[in-house]
Subunit: 252 residues, 2 copies
DNA sequence: CGGTAGTTTGAACTACGTCAAGGGTCGTGG
DNA sequence: CCACGACCCTTGACGTAGTTCAAACTACCG
């Protein structure tokens, strides 16, 4: 029930789309940073405002421009947030993991989703109506403040991404992104610190503002250096230090 | 007291650095979106928690990595938020105007400023201690929610910037940035919709992940097309539609 | 075992970065 | 008030990293 491929070291639990483990719901909500300090009483009440939604890998959860009606919290699986660029490739903004939220944040009524959410793997998400979430925020001020902190962190992270995408070589951008992903998804394995996500070269390209071909070339080169191990849809980091020192290199 | 240059159409009020007009303080706080709905009583109390700080044009307000102790609200002038890239040029993340805030947002204690703030013009800012601001948030839940909305908007804006910087030609990136700046700072003038900020080609380059030379070339070209008017440290938009349609063009 | 989706590699082209020099504008001080 | 010096802007020539197009290869799935 856990394994999936033969050669690929990636192991992702198979979950039924459209079905969340009911016992999991509560655990997930407790895990979410901005609900963590609530009493069991309160959490039970909040739990009832959420409902479950399942998605298959590749399925779209919502599209940008649609009316923003729900906030989602990931219970299982991974979700990617992306924006369609007009004349060019899509841009992959974030790869989200269980416990993280996405969807309608800024809730000036009648707003729309600014980006598109797609299930990267099979996903089980907890969804809540924007109005209901607002009610929670109004009731529990501690939740609001912690949620604010979480959004602020996202903003910092986005700013950091802007910096990294700006005026950097493809090598540096990809190196940065691998480190960022490893920090979030990394899992020690025989092959190295495995990035636990089915990540294609296209995904990597969309995250780093390059092309799949360039991503492939850089990844190959890193592998030749012995810094990473790679395969179809996966990458593992062997030498984190090497990648990190590459970032700090001055481009003479 | 208002004018400054001869040929440049830019007009920026000269303000005394290190001195805010005391009458202005109150008006500014009322103007800030997240304080707008408070009673006069409450606003007076809040007003007392802020103190004034003045900066000359070019002066640094704080540096990244310093302990993040204050939240700032701009009363007069403009502030740029930037990050130093290791081996390369700085990156200009945001250009902020009166009524906008910056500084310590996410306040897990002992945090540091993630970016550097520099006065673009002479600036008068209202500063508040992080702890005091937290108190305000705990007291007025409506403020917290509106502040959350503001931060969420910033996050959306940052995501949009990432999209625009990704895989676009220099023309498109600069076109996008001009439109963004015009929306924020634009002021109708004989020369066109003037971007009311002393903006150098370097600034523009740092915002769009290019070089000053490329920025200059693109700006010259736009001028030849008759879409904009430019000069030393200023740019005015004559044909917004042309710029916008350029963004939507597919790169065939 | 065949098909689909992901990956790799090559070769040609080009937008942009880099280096360098020259010209305009401003404001400061003589 | 003029002149100098600092700063900003422009333009050219050149090299190159990275995109683009295209084809072959490989892993996985039914």
């Amino acid at each position: 029930m856990t394994n999936r491929r033969r050669k690929s070291p990636i192991q992702i639990d198979i979950i039924e789309p459209h079905l969340c483990d009911p016992a999991l719901r509560f655990k997930i909500l407790q895990m979410v940073p901005f609900f963590s300090k609530l009493s069991e009483q309160d959490l039970i009440a909040i739990n009832q405002l959420f409902y479950e939604k399942g998605f298959e890998g590749g399925e779209y959860i919502y599209f940008s421009e649609e009316p923003a009606q729900h906030l989602f919290i990931i219970a299982e699986g991974q979700v990617k947030l992306l924006r369609h660029a007009m004349g060019s490739k899509d841009v992959l903004l974030e790869l989200l993991v269980p416990g993280e939220f996405f969807g309608a944040l800024s809730n000036q009524d009648n707003s729309i989703y600014p980006d598109t959410a797609q299930a990267q793997t099979a996903v089980c998400a907890l969804a809540i109506n924007v109005q209901d979430f607002r009610k929670i925020l109004k009731t529990y001020s501690s939740v609001t403040i912690k949620f604010l902190d979480a959004v602020s962190d996202r903003l910092q992270s986005a700013h950091e991404t802007i910096r990294q995408l700006s005026g950097q070589s493809a090598e540096k951008k990809i190196s940065y992104m691998l480190l960022k992903l490893a920090k979030k998804l990394g899992q020690p394995q025989p092959v190295g610190l495995l990035i636990q996500a089915p990540l294609t070269r296209d995904d990597l390209a969309e995250m780093t503002a390059t092309t799949p071909e360039t991503a492939s070339r850089v990844v190959s080169q890193f592998q030749k250096e012995g810094w990473i191990s790679t395969g179809r849809q996966w990458i593992a980091i062997r030498d984190e230090t090497a990648l990190r020192s590459l970032l700090e290199q001055n481009s003479l």
